[in-house]
Amino acid sequence: MTSTIKADVVTAQTTNGNVTLQGNGTGTVAISDNTAITGTLSATGAATLSSQAYPTAGGLWSGRNMVINGSMAVSQRATSATGLGAAASYPTLDRYQLAGNTNGRVTMSQTADGPSGIANCLKLACTTADTSIASGGYFFFHQKFEGQNLQRWAKGTADAKTVTVSFWVKGNASATYVVALEDADNTRHCGFTFPVTTSWTRITRTFPADTTGAFDDDNAYSLTCIFHLSAGSDRTSGTLPSTWQATVTANRCPGITQFLDSTSRTFFLTGLQMEVGAATPFEHESYSETLQKCQRYFTKIAPKVNAVTVRGYNSSGAVVSSWFSFPTQMRTEPTCAITGTWAVSNCGQPAFQSFSVDGFLFGATTSSAADTYFYPDASSEYITASAEL
């Protein structure tokens, strides 16, 4: 049956002024082509336009992904590192720390693979198996967040929001791992298992609102988004909390497959997004945007090889130096490092004379009152600054 209303104006007659167009729950309410809508259009609930889901309450049109380098595009330190798993480190992809304490070893790399529209992924390959993880053993990777970047959650208030973590994942075989959010300010956590198959699959997990425990509004470590891949009974003997609770070690990652149980294991992940509200499509950004975000925590400065970095003249035993600014202000005063033995003329090896969140004074002590300079004579000689959480 088809019913038609022909009218120029439909006016609300109810006391609240609402006009409702209501389908039967399975069909659609259609507006014919070339029909303009004027005034303010407001919608509650999830919205899908042209098959694209759009941010729900609390979300943003851009800047909604709180993860940095979710597309695995930036890898300032190295694109591959081997023999990992005995300690915590930032070996390859920016912002992703790998941590472990078992006899298993892995190779971590930035790999050119991903679902449609995402060029790179984080790849882990087990190279030395540990088939009997000790009770206190663990192996995971994670990204840490500053509290001041999480205030949109309204965590610890009556207005607290749900948060969704989404990502694309695959492996060499079917497996189950755990993604969790761990609140370092209030020692609380919440986590979910997720399946891995041999094909790229997008996983979405929505974490409930937590009205307990606000994040500190500062530049310190407040939260981690963590992927548990192997663990001993100390961390697997409890029950995974699907609602926020005070952290219990035994509840951190029950139900996971042991990634380190075989050298055939591989794990691929990309398109990592953490946002307030329901899952939305992955928020792409330019390489330069991602790089600048990463450089708040780590930056690599590689002066031109075989070209003078600093040159000057000073009395014997004095310092010839120059100030270098960081590409962006760093989170806090960084650890600065010099790699390799630099080529020098009339001076010792260069060193940091001072530094701040904005840059560093780089120089060397002269051997005599003469022309003095230094420079890297190989690409393995460079400077880094790290202010990781």
């Binding site: 650890t335 490092a337 390799g340 033995t341």
Partner: protein, 57 residues
Amino acid sequence: MNIQSVKKINDSATGLFFAYEVLTDEPNIRYTVPHNEENSDYQAILEWVVEGNTIED
């Protein structure tokens, strides 16, 4: 950061302390760590001292 030794370093002009020179098991890298509790490597130095190690002057 697997610390082997930590030494205080002073500003070349003022002579005042400003950071720590840290040698680790990475022989090809020289680290300079600020005296700043927001820096995670400085936190590692504090833990290293608690383990019974001494910072050189």
